[in-house]
Symmetry: C2
Amino acid sequence: MSYKAPTAQIDFILSHVVPFGELARTDRFAEATPETATAILSEAGKLAQNVMAPLNWGGDQTPARLENGVVRSSPGFAEAFRAIAEGGWVGVSADPEYGGMGLPQALNMAVAEMMSGANLALQLNPMLTQGQIEALEHHASDDLKARYLPKLISGEWSGTMNLTEPGAGSDVGALTTRAEDAGDGTYRVSGQKIYITWGDSDVTANVCHLVLARLPGAPKGTRGISLFMVPKFIPDDAGEPGIANSLKVVSLEHKLGIHGSPTCVMSYEGATGWLVGEENKGMAAMFTMMNCARLGVGMQGVGVAEAALQKAVAYAVDRNQMGPIIQHPDVRRMLATARAEVFAARAIGLACATAIDMDRATGDADQAARAAFLTPIAKAYGTDVGIRVADMGVQVHGGMGYVEETGAAQYLRDVRITSIYEGTNGIQAMDLVGRKLSDGGEAAMRLLDEVLDGAKAAQGAHPALAHQLWQAAETLREATQALLDRAMPERFAGAVPYLTAFARVLGGHYHLRAAMAGGDGHRALAAVFMARVLPHHAGDLAEALAGLDDLTGISDAALAGDFAA
Amino acid sequence: MSYKAPTAQIDFILSHVVPFGELARTDRFAEATPETATAILSEAGKLAQNVMAPLNWGGDQTPARLENGVVRSSPGFAEAFRAIAEGGWVGVSADPEYGGMGLPQALNMAVAEMMSGANLALQLNPMLTQGQIEALEHHASDDLKARYLPKLISGEWSGTMNLTEPGAGSDVGALTTRAEDAGDGTYRVSGQKIYITWGDSDVTANVCHLVLARLPGAPKGTRGISLFMVPKFIPDDAGEPGIANSLKVVSLEHKLGIHGSPTCVMSYEGATGWLVGEENKGMAAMFTMMNCARLGVGMQGVGVAEAALQKAVAYAVDRNQMGPIIQHPDVRRMLATARAEVFAARAIGLACATAIDMDRATGDADQAARAAFLTPIAKAYGTDVGIRVADMGVQVHGGMGYVEETGAAQYLRDVRITSIYEGTNGIQAMDLVGRKLSDGGEAAMRLLDEVLDGAKAAQGAHPALAHQLWQAAETLREATQALLDRAMPERFAGAVPYLTAFARVLGGHYHLRAAMAGGDGHRALAAVFMARVLPHHAGDLAEALAGLDDLTGISDAALAGDFAA
């Protein structure tokens, strides 16, 4: 059983569920025709399926390792990365001026999903390189762009993102890495960074680190952070990797999963760096990088979910226990629910990407607001679905699922990181109820109006489904209003269930669109979603509005199990 | 940070939440006074905390291994098992005639919970040995009892359970291992068994296998299965391990977790066995063993949940990100919800155990029916909570949770098996809506009456909580009635969410009892449960009643992702 790239499923969503078709009517994305989309999906799908997927298990069993200070990657990863680079897949959405394809993020994210499903550990490398490309495109000087973008876009070099320090995780503002002006246009960067994904490797000729650090006298917190480009090898006059920089990989983490992805502790010891963007404005550049990465991580969840589900279905078809277990009602319930959730998460992610593209193509503020609103939902729901479906995959395999050789457990171990990195899902949810509702709920209400319009339009064809969705959307609208009336700590206490409820309603919306456009399969799947996923929105919203008093009413000691105090 | 045995939490439930106190008024359990309970919990708690817990991580990192056909256990496991045996903890509930303590299962299960939380891999050995003791006590001849029970109860020997074969997992009736009468009172057993937990080890002098096999000409399916005692070393005339039997460990599984527990592929090659119980009645004996083990597995879930939660709370107290993260509303929500669920799962398990004990002490058919009804709920909900809380523990640790050295991930990997073995949670749920509702819902309705009575009694003291619980119980009663009117395949499609809803309502019931009896901490925790866990019962019941049509309406191809067909 091997991974089959879901090109037709993605194509269907781009063609019928999200407004991808509008992009080709803009100047910027005039080339993003349905034909281009189909060709891109087909080519990337082949690479994911035939080159990347076969290396997935080997990457788990033979992790990347540190040898004499240099990372040796898992078997076959270097060759596969070359294939990704040569296919141009690092630069799908990158600026054509520097060698990119200039295609919409919607296509880039579709490619990301397939590559993640095939081999999450390896896909992390191009994904982070893409984030770096975005940050440089938006914030770097022309000189830095000229020096780095062609190499990154071609995949000759790769890029990393250095935020976290031992004392500064979710609280980025607490970081202590420092940078000093060397007086020659460069800076000396010193400090330790942790959790640096693909912080070193032998799959590219150079590794370019974007490092957050403080200049002397910089304000405390996030307003005193600047961003620096710190390459492993300093480019020489010909632009090729020159002398080694003063940085090193201290160690690799021993992780639950994504063993093929080296997670490095990095030490910068007066390393030479170049300022990216303005002094003390590093967070803005970092957010550019992270925003792209957040949606990308959501698509990683979708990708692994698809792979895990395919594996579970294949097993359930083959496995006989008084008939094939796929015919057992409870197994079928698990698989059908998972299929319905994978569809929903994929559609939400691609809707988010399309909004990003429409904003970029047209500058439409509504599209920008929609993209901003959907990003945390796409990230958190996509990764929740990834974990849930991978977990379901283990369960469907029974005892076999617990034996590593089966591979079902690897999906669960690998995807488990996705609800943590690029901002935990809790942080995504706080972003949603905090910053993303700070427009007074305008973006939320505009989305809900679209959902209600869709339900109205489907009333004739699918009265029962449309009615259920209508009611859920109305309940969500009321809950949104109620949340807007609350102070922030109280909102935060309900943030995660609120995000989940919103994702369920959006998922219902896209399922209904699919039911309107598609065949029997899509109608049946929409029915599964409305019957088994959507109804839980009510419990989510009750929880979302539960307030904060019950949480502050319980002592830390009681949380630890001591009720005597 | 190390595991702290939750003796006070368990004591509180036994004293105030479940009718454990009634046991001491029966002849059989006259010695099970509150003082005895406290002493047992304290002693077992110390052993779990001080001897077993410190070996947990080492067992993960240095798995049991097969050397020249013999299993070598993880460092320190042999000594710790001796301490368990010498404390008498294998025989807590075993027959005093053969050396057991004769105490209630409620205490045995409390001990099991603590030992599971401390070291799940090691605890599996005494747990399976206990299951074998139960089976022998109920079904073996006096001669077999005399030969095996004292050795098993003292922990000199250990016991295993051999059901599964490559082609016979959940479908036990498909097994093909055969036994032939040797004409001398023994049988020759031949076949291969898989997933044999602690199928061999160096922690005991003998390993006793209970093996399901077919006699020549036996009826097909489960009615043609007999049970045999097949020891690794055949006891000599003095009752000591004698000559080696014709059986061997073929290999060990490479598993996601519980690395310290050797999971063996066993081969029986004309091994000498003794019939346990009657020919072709092996399933009855196996069910005795499994019933005990099912509740035990539920308590394993509770135990690991407790351990994972303690670790997460300790981390959240220490970790500063703009203040200790335990003060962040979303982190506090996760921890408080987990604490509320751990309480509920523990109370359900101990209520089930108490009903088993009351049945055994009094022969009361209502108590037997209650025990039978609660067993699948205790198993499935306890293990669901175990997995959910361990997963939450990883999330609270952020990036640290994904690094193995932290230990949070080990809890998740270890506990993941519990929803699979001893009958998957799907099978538990089918048992609940099938066999356990086959009394026309009598046992279910009797439990719900108790819940409603409890809510009525709490109306004055906790009007809001009592009202919420009352409504949920009424909704559950209606759903139970609706389910009873349906044919089995349709019930099966809703079995898992129905079981979950029932657990939520029962959990609310026990929380309300705790709020009535306990201090501020218990009142606060009950409020958390009613606000954040109970409300999801409505979605569960909607799903439970969704029927089967949507599942049969979707093709296997669509489940696999192919909607073109």
